[in-house]
Symmetry: C2
Subunit: 351 residues, 2 copies
């Protein structure tokens, strides 16, 4: 018997203001071409759309991005199982529940790979191998998380604390640790038992639905109701507003994972990055619209204007048709201050 | 008897590639808004268009900028004596000769103030006072140059060596010194007898025409012929191509000034800058399209896109609709390398 195919569920929420000016309300970072000619969403869809091992992906997103998603999928020739639209944002727990319910009802209980649309994975083939190898563990009733060996004491990530070894590079999860302070993060990195929580989950729908029933029953119930009463129009599935609005907004980590029983962590060694800010990117770009003379360690991106730089180092330089960002890489997070100032000035056209 | 009014002749030649991306072939720096909401050309025209002391300006420019000049003059409400168009570029000597000939024929021999369109003068009123005070010296048969006390050993300027004092802040010019090397420039600055040659001249037409006759007769002759056979169409005067093409191309400094007899230098203490490169400018700009957070000593300009910067210092950042420049101020001259690379890539649209 061959293993059941995996249903990728791509979560398209998230605003990504730290990636202004390419990330905008109308076109958040996951739909921008940051790491290649394709958007992060397109790269994600292609990563899990190989000839075997995976089913056509389910995409879950906000109403406002429906057309963008359809267009970006069309561009890369990926036909989704469906594009599920949330009438309101209810964080990741509701998405995880909808994904599980969808798989139970429409995909014969296939295992779900829940993954954000805005991550960069350097080694797509390696990623697929790791996920496929973990599928039997999901079939055995475990929720599989993916942990990345920390390369620095990052305070912007949650951490997974490894417990007893299960076999190979897999361990039980002893604890979920929220974003630590710098001191704690340093301790985690020194200790070696903590991994960055990649925010990617592999689970059997029955397992996840049981965990919801046990730890977040209202979310499980309303998510199922929202899907049961959804309206389908071609590839687009609109969740029922009345039911979905009743879903408590919570992250899947808080609502379920931290309380759930059998959780495993698999080492994800495939060049993972959450592309949380410009400093997470690299490269001056061998792009026809970039001329970098004597530039070192810069992140340079453009979606139109030519960018010419001379003699600069360690800067983030991002140009779009209507806005330009320049900041040192180690202060790239502070782009939020610019976004705040834009909001204060009423420049909603640039948010 | 009141002093005769001065005829300002604004020279609009010059490419200004060091001010890319705002300075373009189709719109060189003198027509770009670099120092205020107005272009350098507009600032120049307004500087010499006060209610008294000056006649309506004569503008001398290349054919390709005729429409731009008419439009920019219209915007500021300045009606020129004429816009004289050169069918080919022949450097400043030909322009000085045309200006003198025009003043002789059309302006009753009024003194000519020959000035480039691309300078910035911080103190316009002071500039006018200095020029008007120098007019009697021009009437006495001297060619008046304007010297700026050097603030640094600049190697990009010519220098005027002061000779015997004539009175007040005026001296005879002992010698014109070409752009010096760094060592010589340093010596000039220490010595105190050398001033930057501002490239602005005040002269009676008869004086200048006599100097041309003595030192550059072919230029004087062909310039006069080109003006005599010019075609006038409203405010626009098109110099005769056949005659003007015969004008040897030379700078007024080389062709006439270095050989001329009675030359005086007046100290120009009015915040003069030739705006030769971005580093000559200052200011992060209190511009609605600039958000500068924790920025120090930067030159930031935009003619459209919003520019947001955080935590940068001593950078030149210039944004236009189709191109962005980022460089340290002390390397701003190297923008030429970007322009060369654009030419090599065939991006004439951006030159």
């Amino acid at each position: 018997m061959s293993a059941p195919k995996i249903l990728p569920v791509i979560m398209c929420g998230g605003a990504g203001t730290r990636l202004w000016p390419m990330s905008r309300k109308a076109r958040p970072k996951q739909f921008a071409a940051l790491t290649s000619d394709r958007s992060l969403f397109q790269e994600t869809a292609l990563r899990v759309a190989p000839p075997e091992g995976f089913l056509a992906p389910l995409v879950i997103a906000g109403e406002e991005h429906a057309a963008l998603i359809a267009e970006q999928l069309r561009e890369i020739g990926v036909k989704p199982a469906a594009i599920v639209l949330e009438p309101v944002a209810r964080n990741t727990a509701a998405v995880a529940a909808v994904a599980a319910e969808w798989a139970r009802v429409n995909a014969k209980g296939s295992p779900v790979l829940l993954l954000p649309a805005d991550h960069h994975i350097g080694d797509a083939a390696g990623f697929r191998r790791i996920v496929v190898a973990a599928a039997p563990m999901a079939a055995s009733g475990r929720i599989v998380t993916f942990g990345v060996k920390p390369t620095e004491p990052h305070t912007g990530f949650g951490y997974l604390e490894r417990g007893a070894a299960i076999g190979g590079d897999v361990a039980a999860v002893k604890a979920f640790r929220e974003k630590p302070d710098a001191e704690t993060a340093a301790k985690y990195v020194r200790g070696g038992d903590h991994l960055w929580n990649a925010g990617i989950f592999l689970y059997d729908p029955a397992t996840m639905l049981a965990e919801f029933a046990a730890h977040a029953p209202e979310i499980g119930k309303q998510a199922a109701a929202a899907l049961a009463a959804a309206k389908r129009d071609g590839a687009v599935v609109r969740l029922d507003r009345a039911a979905f609005e009743k879903c408590p907004a919570n992250s899947v980590d808080y609502a379920v994972m931290e309380k759930a029983g059998k959780i495993a962590v698999v080492s994800l060694n495939a060049g993972w990055s959450d592309v949380g800010s410009w400093s997470a990117l690299t490269g001056e770009g061998d792009h026809p619209a970039i001329i970098a003379i004597d530039a070192e360690g810069c992140v340079i991106r453009t979606d139109g204007p030519l960018v010419g730089v001379v003699g600069v180092s360690d800067l983030v330089i991002v140009a779009t048709k209507d806005a330009v960002l320049v900041a040192p890489k180690d202060r790239a997070q502070e782009v939020k201050k610019i976004v705040e100032e834009l909001a204060a000035r009423g420049r909603t056209d640039l948010l």
